[in-house]
C-alpha cells in the first residue's frame, strides 16, 4: 500500500519529534529567570534528553541527532564548540549500552543510571574544558549544575514519556500513565 503525502509528512514529523522536543526543552533553559540562584542552578537539559532517548528510542534519536543537539547547545553558549557535543555523545554511548538493562525496570533504576553517567559526563566535560583553557575550572559550580541536572531528571523524563506515549506510542509504551 502506498503512503499518502500527509502520512509521509506525519511519519517524518514523528521521526523528528524526539530531536525537536529536545531542542525546544534546551531553548527553554536559556530563558532569563531573574533569580539570584539562576546562575548556579542551570541544569543541563540536553544531557537529560540525550540519555532518555538513548535509553528508549535509539531508532528515532541517533548519534547524528545527538551531534545536532550538541552543536546547538554549544552555539548558544560561550563554551568551546564541541564541548557539549562530546559530553552528549558520551552520555549517548553509555545510555544506549545501559538501555537493555533498564528496559522494564522501575523508573528509579534509570534515574540512578543517569546520576552515574551524567556524573562521568560532567567530569569529562570539566577535564576537557580545563584542558582547553589550560587551567582547572572551579569544580564546585560544576557540581551544583550536576546536582540540579540530576534533580530535574524526573520532570524532563516525564515530559519525554508523555511525548513518547501520546505521539510515538504505535510502536511501544514506555510507562503507563497514572
Amino acid at each position: 500500500m502506498e503512503e499518502t503525502f500527509s502520512e509521509i509528512l506525519e511519519n517524518g514529523l514523528k521521526r523528528c519529534l524526539p530531536l525537536l522536543s529536545s531542542i525546544l526543552l534546551l531553548l527553554v533553559i536559556y530563558i532569563p529567570v531573574h533569580l539570584p540562584l539562576s546562575r548556579f542552578l542551570r541544569p543541563d537539559v540536553g544531557m537529560i534528553c540525550v540519555y532518555f532517548w538513548a535509553l528508549y528510542r535509539q531508532d528515532l534519536f541517533g548519534s547524528v541527532s545527538v551531534f545536532i543537539l550538541g552543536l546547538i547547545a554549544d552555539s548558544l553558549s560561550a563554551v568551546p564548540l564541541g564541548l557539549n557535543i562530546f559530553a552528549f555523545m558520551f552520555v549517548y554511548v553509555f545510555g544506549s549500552t545501559f538501555s537493555s538493562y533498564v528496559n522494564m525496570k522501575p523508573f528509579a533504576v534509570s534515574w540512578l543510571g543517569f546520576a552515574l553517567i551524567s556524573f562521568l559526563a560532567f567530569a569529562v566535560k570539566w577535564l576537557l574544558a580545563s584542558f582547553f583553557y589550560s587551567q582547572f575550572l572551579v569544580f564546585g559550580s560544576i557540581l551544583i549544575a550536576y546536582l540540579a541536572t540530576v534533580c530535574l531528571y524526573p520532570l524532563i523524563a516525564s515530559l519525554n514519556i508523555l511525548i513518547q506515549n501520546k505521539c510515538l506510542a504505535n510502536e511501544e509504551i514506555i510507562y503507563e500513565q497514572g
Partner: protein, 288 residues
Amino acid sequence: MKRRRVLFIRLSQFRLFIRKFLIAILFVSALALMMLSKADSLVLEKTTTAVTMVFNPVIRIIQMPAQFVYGVYEKIKDIGLVYSENKKLKKENIELMLIKNQLRTLKMENRLLARMLNYTPPPEATFVTAKIVAEEGDGFSHSLIAYIGDADQVKEGQVVLGAESVVGRVETVAGKYARILLFTDINSKIPVLVERNRERGILSGDNTTVPKLQYTALDADIVPGDMLVTSGVAGIFPAGLPVGIVSRIGEDEIEVETITDIPRLEYIRIVDYGIYDDVVKLMQEEED
C-alpha cells in the same frame, strides 16, 4: 579470465564503513571542533553565528508568556512601592537640580579652558539599549544574548554596561542578536585599577560569581571595600568605568564582588566609545 576492477571503494562499502564508525567519527569531530575553536576559525564563527540567528528568535518567542506573567507580577509589586519611591525621587530631584547647575558652570569653564589650550575633545560615546533574551551561566561559561534589533553600530568588542557598572563586552553579533561575554566568564580579562590609590591589576573571570583580581604588586595596598575601575590599558575598555568592589582578600587571591546584580539584569547598554576600531586598526598596522 576476466579481472575484477578494484580501483575504487564501492559506495555501499563506504556507507557501511560510515555506519560502523559513525559514533567514533562524531567523537573525533567534536574534538576537532574544539581544537579549531581554540584557533579562532572563521568558518566555525560563521557556523555558530548562523545557529544563533536561527534559534534566538525561537527563545524570544517561547519566553513571551513567561515574560508577560513576570511583567504583571513586577507591576503589582511596583504599585505598593509607588508612594515611597515618589517621595525618594522628589528628594533626589532637588539634589540633582543643584548638581545640574554646577555641571553647567563646569562645562562652560571646561569649554573655555579647552579653547585656550587648543584641545581636541574625543568623540562622544553613543549607546544602544538592548533587552536580554537569553542567559546562560554555569561552571563552563557565563554569557547573555541580547536583542539589538536593527542597531548597525553594535560591533564585537564594544563595552556592555548594566545599571551601574561594566558587565562585559560584545563577543559576537548575529543579525538582530548579540552575545555578551560577561566579565565573570573565564575568557574575560579586564585591566583595572583601584580607584583609591591607582594600584593596577587584571580582573579575571573564573566562571564563578566572584571574579579574581590578579597580577597586583606584592606590596599592593588593597583592602575590602575598594572600588575597581577600568584602567584603559589594552584599549578595549575606556578608563574610569566602575567594575566591582573588593570583597575578600585571601592568602592567594583577591575576590571581587560585582556592582550590578547580573541575575536581575533585564536591559543592558552597549556603548561605543569609538576607540575599539582605532585600537584594532593600530594592531593590524603593527602586524603588517
